[in-house]
């Protein structure tokens, strides 16, 4: 299939590009990017992108696709449909499936299933330890050979410091990042952030230091063994400070945060709406401001969703026993564009956190618009206003606290591997 995208404002952080250009795609590859391309060949699908932004497909380095084992919450099919709708052309899926992705047969299953069922690229993240137990290392080398791009026990920290040290050392062999979910489990026996809102709601609370302590520990171990470390879904201002400080001394630290951590405060939990229950919890106004500042000053490298779809019965219960998580793929980009509209980030910097930076961390040949590279492209309208309606989600997970919110900016067209996989009804 040949596609010619005409007159879009092409923004590609990796190549430092921001101008009105045409892009010609042929056989899954970006063949040419130039002013006013006139292809004489037949069978070219021409897309008029005037007035719109053309960017590399977004990369979400933290999603839960739930397959295998929890297909009633999400499947690789529905999860990737949600991804392309939200503007993502690549996703990294976490290992807490059933069975856990701690061996190559599960890795192979995910990759095979994604080839058959998936509508975007799926890169599995393997477990650090067997069955996520935090004890013995998983078969990292075999999983790497099968196709994992990172390792993480996401859902919990590796409690044993010695085990984490071994994982950081061992992962060097494959040059893949260790992704750390930072949570001191003894300090985090609660459901919401410890602060004014928890004082009012009486919900068992988790202090921000439960995250910060592990952020600091994990960075100290990584520095000691001279390994790269990525800290995921950072939520507290104290963590951002600690990471910023460490980054000045040691250059192998990266981190991400999620849209809900720079959009909502713990005040939202006062409604007892279980869709506001996430792990780590929504934090204070000061923390939300610190997230924005961290994104602005580049302490926070990447925006990920932590897309955590759940079935209705997991959420339609009392707050204490509801499962944690937000179905985030379809709202992430719209929520993040608010950072541009608010003047926190330039459009190019925002896109960098969704494309160039995750691609670099995971060593993926995506997240850029370079002739010769795979054609993963989105076309979006940064100013289009729309209302979030969870009933229209492609994801099986309708668990969102943003239902009914008005967002400004929407993905309209998604191309993966040179094929149009999503076209929004709003795109004529």
């Amino acid at each position: 299939m040949k596609i010619l995208i005409k007159k879009g404002r092409v923004i590609d952080p990796k190549n430092g590009r921001d101008e009105i250009l045409d892009i010609f795609i042929n056989g899954g590859i970006i063949e040419k990017i130039d002013k006013n391309i006139r292809e004489k060949v037949d069978n070219v699908h021409v897309i008029d992108a005037s007035g719109l932004i053309v960017a590399p497909g977004l990369i979400d380095m933290h999603v839960h696709l739930r397959e295998p084992g929890y297909e009633y919450k999400e499947s690789i099919r529905t999860g990737t449909m949600a991804a392309v709708k939200g503007g993502f052309t690549s996703v990294v899926c976490m290992a807490n499936t059933d069975p856990v992705n701690d061996n190559k047969s599960v890795t192979e299953f995910i990759i095979k299933q994604a080839k058959v069922e998936g509508v975007c690229r799926v890169f599995p993240c393997g477990a650090i330890t067997r069955n996520l137990k935090g004890e013995e290392l998983a078969e990292i080398g075999e999983m790497y050979a099968a196709g994992i791009v990172a390792i993480s026990d996401d859902g919990k920290s590796v409690k044993n410091s010695e085990t984490l040290r071994k994982a950081l050392e061992y992962a060097k062999l494959f040059h893949i990042p260790v992704i750390s979910h930072c949570e001191d489990e003894d300090l985090s026996k609660g459901f919401v952030h410890e602060g004014k809102a928890s004082v009012m709601s009486g919900l068992d609370a988790v202090p921000a230091i439960a995250e910060e302590i592990i952020v600091k520990r994990d960075m100290a171990i990584a520095q000691y063994v001279n390994s790269p470390l990525h800290l995921t879904h950072i939520s507290s201002g104290g963590s951002v400070d600690a990471i910023g400080e460490m980054k000045r001394r040691y250059n192998q630290i990266t981190c991400d945060t999620c849209p809900h951590y720079f959009t909502l405060t713990d005040k939202a939990t006062l409604s007892f709406d279980t869709n506001t229950k996430v792990n780590p919890p929504l934090r204070s106004k000061e923390d939300v401001d610190a997230m924005k500042e961290g994104l602005r000053n580049e302490t926070i490298d990447i925006i990920a969703t932590d897309h955590a779809p759940h079935d209705v019965t997991s959420k339609d219960v009392e707050f204490n026993i509801a499962t944690s998580g937000i179905s985030g793929l379809e709202t992430a980009f719209g929520l993040s564009l608010a950072l541009v509209h608010e003047g926190v980030l330039s459009m190019k910097t925002l896109l960098k956190k969704f494309t160039e930076n995750p691609a670099k961390l995971l060593k993926l040949p995506h997240g850029e618009l370079t002739p010769g590279s795979p054609a993963d492209i989105i076309i979006f309208n940064p100013d289009l206003e729309w209302t979030v309606d969870r009933n229209t989600f492609a994801s099986k997970g309708k668990n969102t606290p943003f239902h009914g919110w008005n967002l400004k900016g929407k993905n309209l067209l998604t191309i993966v591997d040179g094929k149009i996989v999503y076209r929004d009804p709003a795109f004529k």
Partner: protein, 307 residues
């Protein structure tokens, strides 16, 4: 003013006017309880269900007496939270109850927000009779009623709350209610039992019990919440009773006409000595009596609201 809310889920949602409306209504209902025939036909034909996921003879009985004195039919349902796997039961129970068309459901639950969830499912009025460590609005209202009765005012009072503030729904609801008035609220107790951000609610923290009770008009003692793991916040009950148990010597530091309150049930000899609990300053039994009047007022207001 007229009552307009469907439910009584917490003090947090109430205005000062609504609080005063309840207190003023309770004044007239208290008289009924002191008559020879303690029954009026106000709620005849109405059905009140008490749904208790946590055992509490005291609060349940108080609601039941209040409903009966207003001639309502009452049904008690005790549910066991340990048997409700993943909590579907609250939703299912709510739907089942709703199909029986009750007018009011009084719910006690060990998890914050459960009454709010119930109220979203049912059309009946929902009264929160205690949800985890969140709120216990009827207790706070009867506490305010008792303060106003004994002191003729709420404004200007120094109120000291002592004990496990972190896990106390009584403390929370009282603080929400009292901050509508010009009061000074001091919270005291072991630092492990005082949440770090409590001052954001406009209260003072004084860990030293002797200083905390100084010049108090009201001393409100709280129970150690053994069922919420209260014991793990202190080295021992014995040590707690030595440092934070209310003793006669404390009363000398308070105002001369101090009143001593306790939401019950008391751990005698732990947070309060017998001497104080049964002494002249104690209004603990008045609180129990006033509880019926306040609950009658709430049932009356909720069922009488305009649809």
């Amino acid at each position: 003013m007229k009552w307009s809310k469907k439910d009584l889920l917490g003090i947090r949602e109430l205005s000062k006017e609504e609080i005063l409306l309840i207190l003023d209504s309770a004044d007239s209902f208290k008289d009924i309880s002191r008559r020879e025939v303690k029954k009026v036909p106000t709620l005849r034909g109405k059905t009140v269900i008490t749904l208790f996921y946590e055992p509490s003879t005291r609060t349940r009985t108080s609601f039941e007496i209040a409903a009966k004195r207003l001639s309502a039919d009452t049904i008690n349902i005790s549910a066991n939270t340990s048997s409700h796997v993943k909590g579907e039961t609250l939703k299912d129970t709510a739907r089942n109850l709703e199909s029986m068309r009750p007018d009011v459901i009084v719910i006690r639950h060990n998890m914050p927000g459960a009454p709010h969830m119930l109220s979203r499912i049912v059309d009946s009025s929902v009264i929160n009779a205690g949800d985890g460590a969140h709120e216990h609005p009827t207790q706070a209202l009867l506490d305010l009623f008792t303060m106003r009765e004994k002191k003729d005012r709420i404004d200007g009072l120094n109120i000291t709350i002592v004990g496990d503030i972190a896990h106390s729904r009584v403390a929370r609801s009282n603080i929400f209610a009292l901050r509508h008035f010009n009061t000074r609220i001091t919270c005291s107790g072991p630092p492990t039992m005082i949440p770090p951000d409590i001052e954001s609610l406009g209260v003072h923290v004084e860990y030293d019990m002797n200083r905390a009770v100084k010049d108090a008009d009201v001393i409100m003692m709280l129970r150690i919440q053994k069922e919420r793991g209260g014991i793990s916040y202190i080295p021992s009950v014995k040590e707690y009773s030595i440092i934070y148990g209310l003793k006669a010597e404390h009363l000398k530091k308070a105002k001369k006409d101090v009143i001593i309150m306790h939401p019950g049930p008391m751990n005698r000899g732990v947070e309060i000595t017998d001497e104080v609990a049964d002494g002249p300053y104690s209004v603990i039994l008045d609180q129990v009596e006033n509880g019926v009047a306040v609950r009658m007022a709430i049932l009356y207001l909720l069922t009488g609201r305009e649809a």
